[in-house]
C-alpha cells in the first residue's frame, strides 16, 4: 500500500453539508420529464415527480465566478484528494414516498467514507456521499448514496 490517505484527510469522514430546502414545482417536473425523453403522462403533466427528480432539485446553484473554467461547480463537502481524475461512479437510491408539486424538501449531504484500493493501473481512491431528503414533517423521502472513484 502506498498509503495515500492521511489521517487529516480521513478526518473529513462524517462531514455534513448545510441542509438545503427547496420547493417542488409542476413546471420543474415538466421540464425534467421533457428533457429526459419521458413518455409518461403523469410526469409530463407535472402531477407527480419521476424518480431521480431530486437530482435537478438539489444540484448546486452557484454563482458564475464559483465555476471552474470547464464549467463545474466545486463540491465544498469534499476535501482535496491526492488523486483527481474522476472515473465512473455508482449510485444507490431508496425511494420511500412519491414527490408532488408544492412539496418542500430538505436535503442534507454527508461524506460517509473515504478508502483506497489498488487497481491494475495503480491506486484508486473511493469516496461515498449520502444525501438524505426529508419532508417538512421530518419523514425520509429519498436516501441516495453516491460512490465515486478517483485515479
Amino acid at each position: 500500500m502506498t498509503g495515500l490517505l492521511s489521517d487529516e484527510l480521513l478526518a473529513n469522514i462524517g462531514r455534513t453539508s448545510e441542509p438545503r430546502r427547496e420547493i417542488v414545482t409542476r413546471r420543474d417536473i415538466r421540464k425534467y420529464a421533457v428533457a429526459t425523453g419521458s413518455k409518461i403522462a403523469k410526469y409530463l403533466q407535472g402531477d407527480v415527480a419521476p424518480p431521480m427528480f431530486h437530482v435537478p432539485l438539489f444540484w448546486d446553484v452557484v454563482e458564475l465566478d464559483e465555476l471552474t473554467p470547464d464549467g463545474v461547480s466545486v463540491d465544498k463537502l469534499l476535501p482535496k484528494f491526492p488523486l483527481e481524475r474522476a472515473m465512473a461512479g455508482g449510485l444507490e437510491i431508496d425511494y420511500l414516498r412519491p414527490i408532488h408539486p408544492g412539496d418542500w424538501l430538505t436535503a442534507t449531504r454527508t461524506l460517509t467514507d473515504i478508502y483506497e484500493k489498488h487497481g491494475r493501473s495503480g491506486p484508486l481512491i473511493f469516496y461515498e456521499v449520502v444525501m438524505n431528503i426529508e419532508d417538512d414533517e421530518g419523514n425520509l423521502v429519498i436516501k441516495e448514496k453516491t460512490t465515486r472513484i478517483l485515479r
Binding site: A35, T36, S38, P50, P51, D70, G90, L91, D94
Partner: protein, 135 residues
C-alpha cells in the same frame, strides 16, 4: 394494461438517441454548466473526447423509465442501484432494457436487472431496480 410479472421476463426495450437540444435542456434543468456537454471544441480539443458527452444521470433516468413505463399506475420504483461504466456521446443510439429477476406475489415486491447498451452491444450502465406492485 396491468403488468404481468414473472421471473425471466424481459420488459419492452426503449431506444434513446438524444440530440444536442435534449442534452442542453437536460443540463439546463440540472443547472449543470460542465462544458463537455455543450462546448464541442472544448470537449474534443481540450478534453480529447470524440464528441459531446452525455450526462451520466440521464442514462440513470432511462433505466427507471423502462421499468416505470411497464409498471404504469400499478406500482412504484422503490430502489435503484447503477453505475456509469463508460462515456457515451451525442450520435450514440442507446437501448434501455430490463429483466425480472425476482417476484413475490404475496408482497408485490419485484427485482429487475436493468441495463443501457450501445450499438455494439456493450453495457454502458448496468444496474438493478426494486419495485412494488400495489395490492
Amino acid at each position: 394494461m396491468n403488468p404481468q410479472p414473472a421471473v425471466g421476463v424481459a420488459l419492452p426495450e426503449r431506444v434513446h438517441a438524444p440530440d444536442t437540444v435534449q442534452l442542453m435542456l437536460y443540463n439546463a434543468i440540472l443547472w449543470n454548466g460542465h462544458r463537455i456537454h455543450f462546448d464541442l471544441p472544448y470537449a474534443t480539443e481540450v478534453e480529447g473526447y470524440p464528441g459531446l458527452v452525455l450526462a451520466g444521470p440521464m442514462l440513470g433516468d432511462w433505466l427507471h423509465q423502462v421499468v416505470d413505463e411497464w409498471l404504469g399506475d400499478a406500482g412504484m420504483i422503490t430502489r435503484v442501484e447503477y453505475s456509469n461504466r463508460g462515456a457515451t456521446y451525442i450520435g450514440d443510439q442507446l437501448t434501455a432494457g430490463a429483466t425480472i429477476t425476482a417476484y413475490d406475489p404475496q408482497t408485490g415486491e419485484l427485482s429487475l436487472d436493468v441495463f443501457i447498451k450501445n450499438e455494439a452491444g456493450d453495457i454502458v450502465a448496468p444496474g438493478s431496480i426494486g419495485a412494488k406492485l400495489y395490492g
